[in-house]
Subunit: 498 residues, 2 copies
């Protein structure tokens, strides 16, 4: 399957801003840049204190039936456009959080609107198929022109899912079945009576005590299997039974990278060695290692391509599958279509999971032996949602048409340069700036993180955090340099208020 975006390179080197704009200047378009959304606001608009009266009243109403303690803002999606999100009080904010990194091509994208109005969409919505049993006549075509068109290099098949958690868990299941099949002597070997009986009691050997290895601070989802690999924060895990699975150390790099080259290399070596030791010694044998290219919920923790190449080598050497969780990093945000495209792997990952910006979910794979040896082993009623698969196809078309991966690479470099300058100016507020050369997937630490986030809306920006002390930027792929200018100004404004 052709993967159109895998070799997308950043076309333009980082362009330096001559100076961060003064706070009062209304940003305007750079001459060279054509806006993707001509009808976007030119700047955020603040009409009330946030939350305003309408948002407060609506939250109270919603609270009666739905937990609103995690509410960030009630949103008027009809009035949201491109990179700008609108609340119910006339406030319009530059959105660099984008539905927890999941909106790729802008609110009310006109091309996606056409997709939403298409006959294919209508039938997918009202005649929802059980995809494993009764796929539509054009399901192969929808896959080939959509989900699979964006498939990572070397992976030409997909198991479709609903969201990040079940994408990861079905990948884990495939890994366990593959592991046991190899132990058993191949796909033709039948299950033993003992396996058939013990599995009905959740006991070994039918339900074997195997494990998935993940990394400290990782986030892979919140259902029982995925949560057992999630190691981000106690609040995600407390009170929920978990499998006795191992966690390897993830490198803690020092910034700026160019000043800590040797130290960081040593740290990565230490983590790789410990990873391999755990694979060899963990009491519940490891069927697969799962890793995020950039640990996102866990605090935007990066590692070098060399680290991931080392991990790939270790997994191969130890006959363990290598699963790359691209739920948050995938679909262009790092300046490549898949973040693991930055690694130059010699052999591709065994499985790559996706969700969020894809607006649908699943795992890609290439090795035909990862299809379980019998039907109905990897199965569920819906196996995804073709309506959302059509939206992903529309997103891919929009990314192609507008060269949005390239845009994100270039805008990211521009934004990073501006943040570097701010970091020099405000070293107490912008620490461990990271994500250079990773598109707009940028983060930094700040001692007053929650206060920073609390003030962001007041300067017109919707922004999120990750981990304990990071500000994470997750703009859409249509985020351009003039948006970066506004963001840089806003960051400075917030810092000056702290």
């Amino acid at each position: 399957m052709a993967a159109l975006f895998r070799s997308s390179l950043r076309l333009r080197p980082a362009t330096r801003l001559s100076a961060v704009r003064t706070l009062t200047t209304t940003p305007h378009l750079r001459a060279a840049e054509k806006p993707y959304f001509p009808n976007e606001p030119s700047a955020p608009k603040l009409a009330t204190a946030i939350p305003g009266p309408n948002n407060k009243a609506a939250a109270e109403k919603l609270d009666k039936v739905f937990d609103v303690r995690s509410l960030n803002m009630l949103t008027d999606y009809y009035k949201s456009t491109g990179n700008y999100i609108a609340d119910l009080d006339g406030n319009v904010l530059l959105d660099v959080y984008a539905q927890i990194a999941s909106i790729p091509v802008g609110y009310n994208n006109p091309h996606l609107r056409k997709v939403a109005e298409s006959p294919e969409m209508i039938t997918a919505l009202i005649n929802r198929p059980a995809l494993g049993n009764f796929p539509s006549h054009d399901w192969a075509e929808i896959l080939n022109t959509g989900i699979l068109k964006a498939a990572p290099k070397g992976l030409d098949q997909v198991f479709t899912a609903m969201a990040g958690s079940d994408a990861n868990e079905t990948a884990y299941k495939a890994a366990f079945m593959y592991y046991r099949q190899r132990e058993r002597g191949g796909p033709e070997t039948e299950f033993t009576e003992q396996e058939l009986e013990s599995t009905m009691n959740n006991q070994s050997p039918g339900s074997p005590q195997l494990s998935i290895m993940s990394f400290k601070s990782a986030f892979h989802g919140r259902l029982f299997g995925s949560l057992s690999t999630t190691r981000s924060k106690p609040i995600h895990k407390l009170d929920i039974p978990a499998f006795d699975w191992p966690q390897a150390p993830f490198p803690t790099l020092k910034y700026p990278l160019e000043e800590h080259v040797q130290e960081n290399a040593q740290e990565e070596q230490r983590c790789l060695q410990e990873t391999e030791r755990l694979i060899k010694e963990w009491h519940n044998p490891v069927a697969a290692v799962v890793v995020e290219p950039i640990q996102s919920e866990g605090g935007d923790n990066h590692a070098s391509p060399a680290f991931f190449r080392g991990l790939r080598e270790i997994t191969k050497r130890n006959n363990v599958l290598f699963i790359v969780d691209e739920v948050q990093t995938g679909v262009g945000a790092t300046g490549k279509f898949w973040a693991h495209d930055h690694w130059n792997l010699e052999t591709p990952p065994d499985m790559v999971t996706f969700s969020k910006k894809a607006q649908t979910a699943g795992y890609y794979f290439g090795n035909p032996a990862l299809r379980p040896n019998k039907p109905y082993r990897q199965f569920n009623t819906w196996m995804g949602d073709p309506a959302r698969a059509l939206i992903f196809r529309g997103i891919i078309e929009e990314i192609e048409r507008l060269n949005l991966v390239e845009n994100t690479a270039a805008t990211g470099d521009y934004l990073f340069a501006g943040l570097e300058r701010l970091a020099k100016q405000y070293p107490g507020h912008i620490q461990n700036l990271r994500g250079k050369g990773q598109g707009t997937f940028i983060a930094w630490d700040t001692p007053k993180r929650d206060e920073f986030l609390g003030k962001a809306k007041g300067v017109g920006v919707n922004i999120g955090g990750s981990g304990a002390s990071a500000i994470r930027l997750r703009p859409m792929l249509i985020f351009q340099k003039h948006h970066a200018d506004i963001l840089l100004e806003s960051v400075e404004k917030i810092i000056q208020q702290l």
Copy 2:
């Protein structure tokens, strides 16, 4: 929240067919019955052997990228109407399987088409919100006029999910958090340092060794937590690590029920006693019991309302939550909106999970203490899909407008009477006929089950099985008596071919 359908009663007593129609008669409408889909075919249409050449070619194409070993038939949804499903070769079958019991109001339902074309739908599709953080301005209204309008008695809140597995797993998570909160001494008690630390290593006490009890032959999903409560078939479970959770015996009733009243009552008593013993003695304390009103994937196993009332009593007595999994039974198919409406419980279930015919998923609850004590404990990026929530609202509107729960109750009685007559005529082929008074949620055992299913398409019917030897009927809610006539004829035709 008003639950409009909870008291929906069967309006008409069972009407007896004078005789099952002869095989060659073209079925026609009964005078008294107005068809819901005026443009439906009047009978199945067979154009080729099934699968025909177009279906074979399409399957071969799909196989290259997607596992087709579970393929039943590639479907032309544009040509499917009401109760009739069309393949790619001109064959049109009466569909009493309905996408594994998940299509409720007919293929290409005109009202759902309007919903699919509405501005609310377009924005839900192209501006997909992270519902826990950025719900749309009208999310409370969408819930109140949709999902919550159908809420079971006593349950006025909902946590929205994507499909049956995560609906159940999030309910389990709520149960575990509730259990530990009670142990801890209430919602105000803070977590201990030991809990905060141990959970990051997947160890107790932070990740406690608690359990969910399910029943032998149960099916609750296929992700790691739900699969640990699934006890249907080895093929669903093999090679996947599972939690050490208990399974209680589910009653094995003898049919016809009226001839085995005392025996069956004793069997149910035995199961209840063993259930309570396991709750008291299982080494991993039981936080909740989960049960299907009718075990569906596991073979269409029924129990009496008295059994379920007993189960509710046991769970109350032992401070264990009672979760009713209505993923397959919910939304009208049993002749009540929720199957547990048949039980006349004194106190409602603690949680009721739904999916399939709702076309969206989640769990209902009433007790405010089932909202975890802190935000972000029960959370994920999308928390469901408003596009699918809008479809459910449309389905509810259609059920109301056409009185489809009443229709299903009446059609079910009519169909059951016809099957009883066939069972007398062919006692070797229709055994343990069950589902009387349960709408169209009807099943029977047959010794040549797979052969039976294999011949069904040849007589124009799409039909499914469950468990090892059951034929399960899962028609839509728009299944009427004239459809039942065709089905009864078809069943007889198949039997005569065996």
